[in-house]
Subunit: 228 residues, 2 copies
């Protein structure tokens, strides 16, 4: 789970992506979070991931469109990459394309899953800790639940972009825990949370902050194992 | 519609509240946006609005609880004040208390309505341009529609200190307009939008930025009439 794709696209985490993919070469890229131009977004991903190492991964990148025979494309995946954009649009389209169960099943039987921003949000049990607005009016918030905790990407402890009368990110997570019990993991920019066989390790230049309901939140740095 | 209550509570806009209330003395205060301690929030409002002018409005403040005979309390209102907190919790509780129609009817027949933060969000056609997270899992987003535009309180334009991979507020509003056509009005902190007889005037120390779909957004300052 990648907090943000960054500029140049995916450069900050390309080595980690390559290591995670291992021998997988056919990467299916999901553009459904993009509300503006899905083909252009796919081209950006294809160029970045398809480049020869170390700039890219030398991957063969297929475009999964939620509204154009997505299950047949998913079938061919050796790895799945769900890109960023609007989290609510992404989840709505995954629902409408009938993709949640097939993705969940594939990943639980070994398909490597990579998500960036919105794509990491949908890996959790719900998307209600996304920073995005629900502009599509989504009403069913359950997501892939590949991990047992919710994600908050682009995590910033005190968000200088918020006006002083606004809630901080931590206050929003506290509100979330008034209603929900699942832990929330905030991932700073430039940071990756790699999860394999139930073990979550922080990678990259930033940190991860884990919020369990009723407990003090705890920071983790690169190389550390996150306990939630 | 008040962007934020500020500290001390409501001090920045007390004069404007008093002017808007006019002769109304019995103010019903709605605490439903507060997820933590509604009685304490009511006490804060009662102390601030009940103080003698110019510190307060000399109002007699009644507590409307969404889950304790709210219609009887609403009945007694000479003015309604909907306080801040979590916008989605507020709208959900107004729905569950059967309050949307009664409030709409009262306000359309002359009851002065004051909303702060979440309370200004619910005055629009929907709450989907709130900054809050939908931690309560609300699925019906239509609000009071007292005004024909959505509100974004605590509005801040692009901030260079924002996590660089995050969407700006303007980008979120642009996403909203991919799907919806209602205008969005961003209200800066310390700022009030006073609407009467279809005329919206900016008051206070900040500005208002109006976003109509497909048009360049436009700034308005104190004393200006907002055209959306």
């Amino acid at each position: 789970m990648i907090s943000n794709s960054g500029k140049p696209f995916l450069e900050h985490c390309m080595g980690q992506i390559a290591a995670f993919l291992g021998p997988a070469r056919r990467v299916v890229f999901v553009t459904a979070a993009n509300l503006y131009d899905e083909p252009a977004y796919y081209e950006r991903a294809r160029a970045a991931l398809g480049a020869a190492p170390p700039a890219g991964c030398g991957a063969h990148v297929l475009h999964l469109r939620w509204d154009a025979d997505p299950l047949a494309v998913l079938e061919r995946a050796e790895a799945l990459f769900v890109g960023g954009g609007n989290t609510y649009a992404l989840l709505k389209r995954l629902q409408e394309g009938g993709l949640l169960d097939p993705i969940r099943t594939r990943v639980r039987t070994g398909l490597p899953y990579i998500g960036s921003s919105a794509g990491s949000n949908v890996a959790g049990p719900s998307v209600l800790t996304s920073n995005d607005w629900n502009v599509v009016g989504l009403t069913v918030f359950g997501a892939l639940a590949l991990v047992p905790f919710n994600i908050n990407p682009h995590y910033l402890e005190t968000d200088p972009a918020m006006a002083p009368g606004s809630e901080t990110r931590d206050e929003r997570i506290r509100e979330y825990h008034v209603v929900h019990s699942s832990p929330v993991v905030g991932i700073e920019e430039g940071t990756v949370l790699r999860v394999e066989d139930g073990v979550a390790i922080v990678l990259g230049r930033g940190r991860v902050k884990a919020f369990a309901r009723g407990r003090e939140p705890r920071w983790y740095r690169a190389g550390e194992r996150v306990e939630v």
